[in-house]
Each structure stands twice: as structure tokens, then as C-alpha cells.
Amino acid sequence: MRLPTPADLCWNVKCSPDQEWIERTLRIAVENVWPQALEAAHSRNGHGSHVVEIVESAIEHAVCRLKTGDPLGPEQVTQLLQRLVLQEVRRRRRANGRMVFVGSSDELPPTPVRNPQIQIDCALDLKIILQGEPPDVRLALLLRYSRFRWSEIAAALGTTEAAVRLRCKRAIERIREKQEGEQHES
């Protein structure tokens, strides 16, 4: 992010001639505080896009305090501004309900379905898993599901056990994957 000039950030500082030191010391303080403000805003809020608003708000509070006290040097004003910046960052974080926004939803990886009912339907809906399988594979799996042995299924379909198992291999692997996924979810 481009570093704004102190004049950019102190645009609303209006002081009487006898308090001109406030604007002068605040400009130095802003230059000192800016990198830390940017880092604090980024680490606590997840992004630094509001750092200008945060520093401006801190400057406003600083001016209110400095106007009621004795003149301070740049180091003391820097410390005051640092404290006020951190307070403002914390206030904004609380105002956001303690949520931390990191990036956007577009950057999130796809997540597994969390709705338990949808999960069941997606995970082990054999009708969906076996969609597109040829009729002989569907029937063979129905028979295996009905506790027929592979040799009996082969006899019923007029083929060999090895052939029917080979035909069903891919579908069974898909079922296994879904079942394993469901076990991990539950």
C-alpha cells in the first residue's frame, strides 16, 4: 500500500496558532506509526484496507487529548498515536463481532457437504453412484447386495465369475470410496 503523506492523514487537524506544535509533532508521529499501523490492521483484521481510516480516527482522538495538555515532543506524541491506533484496531475488530476476515470466499477451497442429510444422499446413494453403469453391472450388484455369491451371480448372468467381477470392479471401487468418505465424515 502506498504510504500516504502525513498531510493526507492530518487533513482535518485544525489548531490555533499557539497549538501549531500539535500538527507538527503529529506529522512526525504519523510517519513513525504508519508501518506499525498497517501491520496491526492486517494482522488483527485480516487486511490493511482500512488503515487510513484507522490512523485518521487515531489522529482525531490524539488531537483532542493534545489540545487539553501541555506541549509534547514528537516521541511522546508517537507513543500516544501508537496506543490510539491499536485501540482503534481493537475497537473495529470487536465491532466486527470478533470475526477475522482473511481473503475472500473465492479463495476458499471446496469444502465437503456439512448437511448430514445431504451427506447421506451424496455419500452412499447407490442409485446415483451407479448411474450410467450398464444393466448387467447393475443387476450383478443388486444380486451381490442380495447376498448372492459371485459364482452364483456369474451363473445367473451366463458368464464367468472372473468376468462378472471385472465388470463390477470399477463400480465397487466407487462405492468403497464413497463409503470411506462417509466414515471419515461421521
Partner: protein, 98 residues
Amino acid sequence: MIVALSRSSRKDAVTLTEHPFIPFDNEDDSLLFEKLQEHVLAHYPNPERKGCPDPAVLKSLIDNPGDVTLVELNDLHIFKCAECTRLLMELREKKKQS
């Protein structure tokens, strides 16, 4: 490829499977289909028997599996019906005992 020791449902049959997803299964997939049945019984109740094939068709499936078509079985309906699954298991058990 993960090679894991697997157990069959029978105590005397201990085999090795190279499948990475289900480490404990026997080589004829019995455990997989048992788990599927349990899943269907638990998650797909169908007390009104909507879409169920005629019980005679299910009996025929058990007695003469080569004579039944997918159309008669309402395609893969059984995979989403606890009632049909239960009836099939009973019929199969009776068939084994007879």
C-alpha cells in the same frame, strides 16, 4: 499402494487386500455389501412401500436370479428401500436354510 491386513467376516478367513480405502474387508466384498445393507436399513425407511416391486418379484429374484429384469425390480429401487432390503435378506436366509 497401501497393503493392509484384512479380516473376513469368518474367523478362519484372513486375507490380504491391496485396496487403499477399506483396509478391513474380505476378498469377495461381503463386508462392503453388509455395510451397504446396514446403511440402507438405517437411512431409507419406506413404510408405505412407495415404488417397491411386487414381493413375488423379489422372491423370484432369490429363487431364479437370471429370470428377473431390472424393469421388474424398478431399476435400483432396492438400494434405497429398507423394506425391500429386509425382505430380500429374509428370503435369502430362508433359501439358504431350505
